[in-house]
Symmetry: C2
Amino acid sequence: MCIWGRKSDERTFGDRPRRIVVIGAGFAGLAVIKGLRKSSAYVSVIDRQNHHLFQPLLYQVATASLNPSDIAGPIRRIVRGRKNTETLLADVTGIDLDRRVVTLADGEAPYDVLVLASGATHSYFGHPEWEEHAPGLKSVEDALEIRRRMLLAFEIAERETDETLRREWLTFVVVGGGPTGVELAGALRDVARMTLAKDFVHIDPATARVILVEGSPRVLTPYSPKLSESARRQLEGLGVEVRTGSIVTHIDAEGVHIGDERIASRTVLWAAGVAASPLGRTLGVPLDRAGRVMVQPDLTIPGHPEVYVIGDLAHLEQDGKPVPGVAPAAAQMGKHAAANIIRTFRGQPTEPFRYVDKGSMATIGRGAAVAHLGRFQFSGFPAWMLWLFVHVLFLIGFRNRLLVVIQWAWSYLSYDRGARLITGRAEGPLVRGLTDSRLPSTSEAEAIQG
Amino acid sequence: MCIWGRKSDERTFGDRPRRIVVIGAGFAGLAVIKGLRKSSAYVSVIDRQNHHLFQPLLYQVATASLNPSDIAGPIRRIVRGRKNTETLLADVTGIDLDRRVVTLADGEAPYDVLVLASGATHSYFGHPEWEEHAPGLKSVEDALEIRRRMLLAFEIAERETDETLRREWLTFVVVGGGPTGVELAGALRDVARMTLAKDFVHIDPATARVILVEGSPRVLTPYSPKLSESARRQLEGLGVEVRTGSIVTHIDAEGVHIGDERIASRTVLWAAGVAASPLGRTLGVPLDRAGRVMVQPDLTIPGHPEVYVIGDLAHLEQDGKPVPGVAPAAAQMGKHAAANIIRTFRGQPTEPFRYVDKGSMATIGRGAAVAHLGRFQFSGFPAWMLWLFVHVLFLIGFRNRLLVVIQWAWSYLSYDRGARLITGRAEGPLVRGLTDSRLPSTSEAEAIQG
C-alpha cells in the first residue's frame, strides 16, 4: 500500500495528499519553497506576479542601470522540475481560516498548511492622494515609472525656456532617508552629474538638485550613528542636499511642503512609509500599528498551528526589538517555517525562530556605501566593493549574475547607464506641464556653435 | 568677419544659422543625422520616443529573449557631443510648408530644410476594431504587450480545467507571413517546445499550436519562390501550421475567421498590414495607396526642394518596382538626403537616389533562417549563422552588442530565455477569461507525484 517509504507520513493527511499553500514568492516565500523541496507534500505557490524580484537592486532599474529581467526571474523557472509544486498566477482576496481555504479573485485554493508571505506595500501616512505625485518603489512597474519620470524631467527641462520652471524640472525630492531613499538620491545625482552630463545642449544636468528629506534626526536610522553620519557626508559629497528632522506635510504635482517651506519640484519619489500587506487584516488576529501580524515564536498565529506568517508581514520581538523587515530576515523565517512544517508532519514539536543578524549594508552612489558586519563598520569605497560582491553573489541564477556584472563594469568604466529608455504609455499629453517648445534663438545657436 | 572658413556658406542662411529639422530617429533619420555630422548647420532631431529602436530584433523582445534596452538606445546618447544638434522629445502634429514650420503638440519648430522620416505604423485594413485583439509590433510598448499576452496565455492554460478552453489558450495565431510574422511564429514555437517545456505541471507547453496565416500563396513574398518554400518547410519543421492563401475576415477576443472557418484562439498577433505615418498626408502632395509620399528621384517632394521624405514613408520607383520598406533602404536614403542637403548648401545640384540591394535575410527559429546575398541563396543553419553575425554587427553600440551575444549564447546553450517577465498593468482582472481556479484533485495530485 505505502509506496512512498518513510516519507508517506509527511505526504498524506488522512487519505489524501497534504496541501501546502504559499502566498507570495518574495525572499520569505521562496525560502519556504526551497526548504520544502525534499518534502513530498503538494505545494502551491500563489503570486500576483509571474516573477520573483530581487528587491534590493530595484532602485538600479529605477535609475536606468539595470533591466527588469536582470533582477527578476520567473517563479516557475525557479521551481522547475519539481513535480509536486505548482505555480499559480492569481490575486488572493482573502483567507478563510475555518474552512482552510484561500479565496482568489477567480477561484479557491484549499490548504492543510498555509504560509502567508505577502510582504509589504507603500504607505502614505493617511495621504493616499500623494501617491500619484510621488511614486514608491516596490514592483518592476514602479521602477519603470520612476525611470520614466526621471528621464522625462531632464527632457522637459531641455525644452523649457522659463528659467524658474526649468529649475523645478531639475529639482528632485526623495522622501524618506532609509536605505531605498538613500540609494535613490545617490543614484539620481550619479545620473545627473555623470551619465547625462554631456547629452544636453540647453541645460547642464549636473546642476540638478537632489533633496533627501527624512523625518528623524539622521539618515539610515537602523545603522549606528557613526555610519549614519558617514552616509550623510557621502551623500553630500555626491551633491545631495540632506534634510533630516524634516516632516513632509503636503505633496502635489508641483512640489512638496516641509512644514511651512515649499520646495518646487516636478519629480518627487516616495521611500518613506511601508505598510504590511492588507491580507494580514483578513486573518482576524492581533496586528501591530503598521498592520503586521503578531506571530508566535514558531511563526504561526495564535490558535492556528497550521498557519504561518513570515517576512515583512510578520511582527516578532526578539531581545526587546522587532526582527527587521529586511531580506535576510525574510529568508531565515522562510527556511525556519519550512523546517517547522516538516517537524509537524513528522509529529514533532515546532521550534522557535531566532533571527541571526549577519550585518547589513546600503549603497549610496559610485564608490560610496556603508556596511556593518558584526563588530566591524565600513564606509566609502571598501563598503561599496563589499556591497557589490554580496549583491552579485546573491542574485538568483548564473545568467543574471554574469549580465549584471558586465553591466556594472561597463557603467563604472564608461559612466554610462544602459537602460535609459522612456517607455510606457503615460496618460495625458506626452510631456505634461511643458509651457513652450524649446527652440534656439539666432544668438543662442551662434553661441552654441561658438 | 567669417570665422568659419570654407564652411560658413553651409551654416548661414542670409544672416542667421541654417536650421535642419529631422522628424523621426529610425534608421532613415539617424542616417541623415550621421551624414550631417560635419555640417555646421543647426540640426534638431524630433522624435516621440527618447530612443532609437533596432526594429529587426524587436520580435526577440516580444518573445522574451532580449530586453528592450538591448535593442534600443537614447537618441541623445547617439548624437552626444555634437554642439549643433539638439534632440527634442515631442509629438509632431503637422507641417506648414508655406511658413516652413513643424507644428508640435506643444510648440513649433521652424526649419530651412526639413527631413521627414516618421516611418510606418500598423494597418488593420479598415478594421481598427481588430487592434485590441491582435496587437502589432512596432514599438517597445508593443513588444512588451505581446510578451505579456504570450506568457499569460500559458499561465491561464495551466490553471484552466476546461479542456476546450485550455486548447484555446494554447492556440496562437499570427496574421501575416512577412518577415515579422515568420519570426514571431517560429519564436513562439521555440518558446513553447523548448523554453517553457519543463516549467508547467498541468499542461505540456510543447503541444501549443501556432498558426501562421498569410493571404498570398506563399510566405516571405519578397524572397524567391525557392526560399519561400524553404521557409515554409523550416516553419513546419518547428511545428508551425502554415496557412497560405488564407484571408482573415474577422478577429475578436476569442479567435479569428478565415473565410467561413473559425479558429478559436486567445492570442492573435498582427504582422500583416503596414500603413505610412499620417504625417505624409499633411503635406498635400501625391501619395500612393498605402499613404506613402511619392518622392522625386532626389528624395524631395514636388515644388519643395527644401523638404525631403525618406524611409518607409517614401515611395520611389526604381527599375519598375518600389524601393522596399526595409532598414538598409531607409539608411541609404538617409545618407543620400544628407549628401543632397550639403550639396544645395554649397550651391551644387542634388543627385538622384539609387538603392543598392545588398541582400536580405529572415530568421525563422533556432538554427532556421533564409537569406539571399546577390546571386547566392542560403537556408537553414548557414543562413541562421549569417543572420546572427549581421545583426550583431549592426546593433548600435559596443555594450549592446556584447550583452546580446552573451544572451543569445546563453539561450542557445540552455534553451532558456532571459526576459520571461509578465509586466505592465493590464486593464480589467489580472487573468481575463479564466473560468475557474486550477486546483489538483486528489487523484491528479497522486498521479503527478507518481
